[in-house]
């Protein structure tokens, strides 16, 4: 350190509400080549995308220390009070102007939301008032790094202190190799709003103890403790056998923030051993298999539906509000449908409450196929239900449609009779039988709709579809349909 003192970053209390945490460090006398420089930039980008959760948790700023003079201040100011020349621009702008300019920047527009509507924006200054950066958006042009930069000041700001420290550790450990004093990092002091200070990077090494037989047992191998220690050391987890010969002491470097439990060490040992070298064995777990009753019934019904001459479709569970409401002549509020927030397109607005739209859309997409078209689907629909722990429930529906030059109500009715026959539900209202009663519904032709009652409850409807429904689904021929809930038949 030229003047014997380490760099200092002072955090003010204004940052607390917007982006409270910051850490810093220095890489001295670094020698960049084009490749190393590109790699340095790429590492920051990768970290931003992953652990930093797209800059929301942590943002990294790297600066040419020789263009700046510490101590540095990390504070938060009103956007109109922040003015600087940002990276790769030729003049100064206020923060407000920059937020506008970057709205159309394909790279930066994704990060604007992190600070956009807040009263104060984070900003880092040096002792001369030069802006290093306005995290997490953009660095200042003044301190930008080039291939020729020799001394780098690194700052990481964010909303997750643990992650900020990890990120700093990763950058300095990965690039200290290129410093004149190889693998040496110069610490920086960070002063917190409460006056306390701390040096960074932490670069904490810690020691963990793992029993050799634990590793063997979890992986399914039989290595000596010494061999296991060798394997772990090959994975850059320096290990040695200690104590009674069964314990392995492992030194965990700061670059391995992912090791938080013994199982992480077990994985490294297994990787070093080579997964494909492990002997494959079968567990002695003796179990009798059971089918989920609803699925068992579904499988049985599917095959007999095909035997009855109907073809199975598989349609989407997500659809537009129109599909389950307007196109069927009902209001969306009456459907008790589950709504998705911020759908990208109308196709993902709601979860379906009926299988009918899916089948009608399938017909519409296959108009050139020979008539009649006879389709069915046995699958789940979703309805809101405050009696469940999440507030919604799946129901297993069976839906069939007949599309032809004639509506074919008798065909769909016949199919219902066949289904009841298969389910061993006799015709007739008493003794747990089934009956259909005249009904009406906006999706059906008046006078050509019936409600189905079985075992004392309403299980669904069948009928000839209303011409409006036909038109709204872009069909041209008459169509009749049947839809029931098969849950009551378990």
């Amino acid at each position: 350190m030229p003047d014997g003192k380490i760099q200092k970053l002072i955090i003010t209390e204004e940052t607390a509400k917007i982006r409270p945490f910051a850490v810093a460090a220095v890489l001295r006398n670094i020698k960049f080549t084009k490749d190393r420089y590109d790699s340095f930039i790429e590492l920051q980008e990768k970290l931003h995308q992953n652990i930093c959760r797209k800059r929301a948790l942590v943002a990294i700023g790297t600066h040419d220390l020789d263009t700046l003079s510490g101590p540095f201040t990390y504070t938060a100011k009103r956007p109109s009070d922040i003015k600087f020349k940002p990276l790769n621009k030729t003049k100064e702008y206020t923060a407000c102007e920059l937020m506008n300019i970057y709205k159309t920047d394909s790279h930066l527009k994704h990060y604007l939301h992190i600070i956009e509507n807040k009263p104060l924006y984070p900003v880092i200054y040096d002792s001369n008032g030069v802006v290093l950066s306005m995290p997490p958006i953009i660095n200042g042009d003044h301190s930008k790094i080039t291939v020729n930069t020799r001394n780098i000041f690194i700052e990481c700001t964010g909303t997750d202190f643990t992650k900020a420290k990890i990120v700093l550790d990763i950058i300095v450990t990965m690039f200290s190799e290129y410093c004149e004093n190889q693998f040496t990092v110069e610490a920086a002091e960070v002063v917190f709003p409460n006056g306390k200070s701390h040096t960074f990077p932490e670069l904490a090494y810690r020691k963990e103890m793992v029993r050799a037989d634990l590793i063997n047992k979890k992986v399914g191998i039989r290595e000596t403790p010494e061999n296991l220690a060798k394997l772990l050391t090959r994975m850059y987890l320096k290990s040695e056998v200690i104590g009674d010969g069964n314990q392995i002491e492992i030194e965990i470097p700061p670059t391995r923030a992912d090791i938080i439990h013994a199982c992480d060490i077990v994985e490294d040992a297994a990787i070093a051993y080579g997964y494909n070298n492990i002997q494959m064995t079968l567990p002695k777990t003796y179990t009798i298999a059971n089918q989920f009753p609803l699925n068992k019934l579904t499988e049985l019904l599917r095959h007999d539906m095909a035997a009855a001459g109907f073809t199975e479709a598989l349609t989407f569970a997500l659809c537009s509000q129109e599909d389950i409401a307007d196109k069927l002549g009902v209001d969306i509020s009456a459907t008790k449908a589950v709504h998705i927030s911020n759908p990208k397109t109308a196709e993902f607005q709601v979860a379906r409450t009926t299988l009918l739209p899916g089948l009608l859309k399938t017909i519409a997409a296959n108009r050139k196929m020979p008539l009649p078209l006879k389709l069915f689907e046995i699958s789940d629909i979703v309805i809101k239900d405050s009696n469940t722990d999440v507030g919604a429930k799946n129901y297993r529906h069976l839906c069939a449609v007949y599309y032809n030059k004639n509506p074919g109500f008798e065909i769909i009715h016949g199919l219902l009779d066949r289904i009841m026959q298969l389910l061993d539900v006799p015709p007739g209202e008493d003794k747990g039988g089934y009956v259909i009663k005249a009904s009406e519904g906006p999706a059906f032709f008046p006078g050509r709709c019936a409600e189905i009652f079985a075992r004392g409850q309403s299980v669904g409807k069948l009928g000839v579809l209303h011409p409006d429904v036909i038109t709204k689904f872009e069909l041209t021929m008459p169509c009749s349909s049947l839809e029931i809930n098969i849950g009551p038949f378990l």
Binding site: K218, E267, D380
Partner: protein, 477 residues
């Protein structure tokens, strides 16, 4: 043909004849195939106003082998009569003669012979009449001479019953157009099952054959707690972004969560415990309450394992599920917002990575995949984790067929599972093997309403362990 030699001959004969010609007779006369004459007739008919032709089916009669014999040698009853001398013949001896047995009862009913049962050395047969007419032989000879029509209907019937006469339909001479065995038959009118669901049935079968019990997965809506937090996936994990997960507007939050379990999960995430350092961040209940469309069926596995953990003492289990999951990702030819996930789970004491590999080997063997290799991978909730690869003969390279791992203790211990219980699990998508099996390149042709129904009609049985059909031979470029 109408101007050919056969037609000309026919026309000349027709001119000369009075009352028409019979095509069969003409063919015999001219010494040619009946079919040739028929052809000439048809082509002359086609000219219109040249000839008139009428189709007749005639019955022809011919003698059977036995009938031929009788026409030659006389009927059995006649032979019986002739073999009886004036002094009569012992019945026993008569029966030993060739025509004896057959002719005896007929000769009796014709009243040509009689039996004297009271004779000294056994029943004796005597002639009744001096001579007889062998009508049967006479009639058969008439038929042999081609004059079957001289016999009455009843007489012919009788002879037919005795199998001495056989009816010959003139189909024997009819020309029949040869079948084109290269053409297709008429496909039966049938329904069809969807190919993806055929594959699903097969996978269900495989799991059941391996002793796996099916988990309930009939809930598309899940809370963030069961989908992420219970699986030790941290709240700041990128997968919990709006970009990858469908969150709900209504119902936005889960109404009930098992609160004491939630507390343990919260502690594990934020402070560690159960031998773990934890993630050391501020875990928020509000975040865990957020409802979503489940991104994997592993949330159902978590629920099942939690239920299992409440039952004491612990019993080992094997669970599976195949159901729909939802991802809010970029869509392309092989990715949709909804797809099906297959998941298998084994929970038992002392399970190892080697056991996981063993189970995978058995599972994939049932799919006809025998060469497996494993590569280290990363999942937030398993450690160790492995990607599973198999060698694809057609593409001549190793392709990923699944993902697997051992669930982290931070996930299992807060549930209350005993410490020495390990849980191994693996998963794959249903769509990918189906697209490979049925040769489909665009997922939209397989799943959803834009499906090609003809493809559904034509898709073969799903036999996962069958040899793949060799691709149609390609022409050299």
């Amino acid at each position: 043909m109408a101007d050919g030699p056969v037609a000309e001959l026919l026309l000349r004969r027709l001119e000369a004849s009075d009352g028409g010609l019979d095509s069969a007779e003409l063919a015999a006369e001219l010494g040619m195939e009946h079919q040739a004459v028929v052809g000439a007739v048809k082509s002359l008919q086609a000219l219109g106003e040249v000839i008139e032709a009428e189709l007749r089916s005639t019955k022809r009669w011919e003698l059977t082998v036995e009938g031929e014999e009788i026409a030659r040698e006389g009927s059995h009853e006649a032979r019986v009569f002739r073999s009886i001398p004036p002094e009569g013949l012992a019945q026993s001896e008569l029966m030993r003669l060739p025509s004896g047995k057959v002719g005896f009862s007929k000769a009796m009913s014709n009243k040509w012979i009689r039996v004297d049962k009271s004779a000294a050395d056994g029943p004796r047969v005597f002639r009744v009449v001096d001579s007889m007419e062998d009508e049967v032989q006479r009639r058969l000879q008439l038929v042999r001479g081609g004059q079957a029509e001289k016999l009455g209907e009843k007489e012919r019937s009788e002879l037919r019953k005795r199998k001495l006469l056989a009816e010959v339909g003139s189909w024997r001479d009819r020309p029949f157009k040869p079948y084109n065995f290269l053409a297709h038959g008429v496909l039966p009118d049938s329904g069809h099952l969807h190919p993806l669901l055929k594959v699903r049935s097969q996978f269900r079968q495989i799991f059941l054959e391996m002793g796996f019990t099916e988990m309930p997965t009939d809930n598309f809506i899940e809370s963030s707690f069961w989908n992420f937090d219970a699986l030790f996936q941290p709240q700041q994990h990128p997968a919990r972004d709006q970009h990858d997960t469908f969150f709900l507007r209504d119902p936005a939050e889960a109404l009930q969560l098992p609160m004491d379990y939630v507390q343990r999960v919260k502690r594990t995430h934020s402070q560690g415990g159960y031998g773990s350092q934890g993630y050391k961040y501020n875990w928020k209940l509000d975040e865990a309450r957020k409802n979503l469309l489940r991104t994997h069926t592993t949330s159902a596995s978590a629920r099942a394992l939690y239920r299992l953990a409440q039952k004491k003492p612990f019993t080992p289990v094997k669970y599976f599920s195949i159901d729909r999951v939802f991802r809010n990702e970029t869509l392309d030819a092989t990715h949709l917002a909804e797809f099906h996930q297959i998941e298998g789970v084994v929970a038992d004491h002392g399970l190892t990575l080697g056991h996981l590999m063993g189970v995978l080997r058995e599972f994939f063997t049932k799919l006809g995949i025998t060469q497996l290799r494993f590569k280290p991978a990363y999942n937030p909730y398993t450690e160790p984790s492995m990607e599973v690869f198999s060698y694809h003969q057609g593409l001549k390279k190793w392709v990923e067929v699944g993902n697997s791992g051992v669930f982290r203790p931070e996930m299992l211990l807060p549930m209350g599972l005993p410490e020495n219980v390990s849980v191994i699990a693996w998963g794959l998508s249903l769509e990918r093997p189906t697209m490979i099996k049925y040769g489909i390149n665009n997922i939209r042709e397989l799943v959803g309403h834009k499906v090609n129904l003809q493809m559904v009609y034509d898709s073969p049985l799903c036999r996962l362990d069958a040899e793949p059909r060799p691709p149609p031979t390609q022409e050299a470029a």
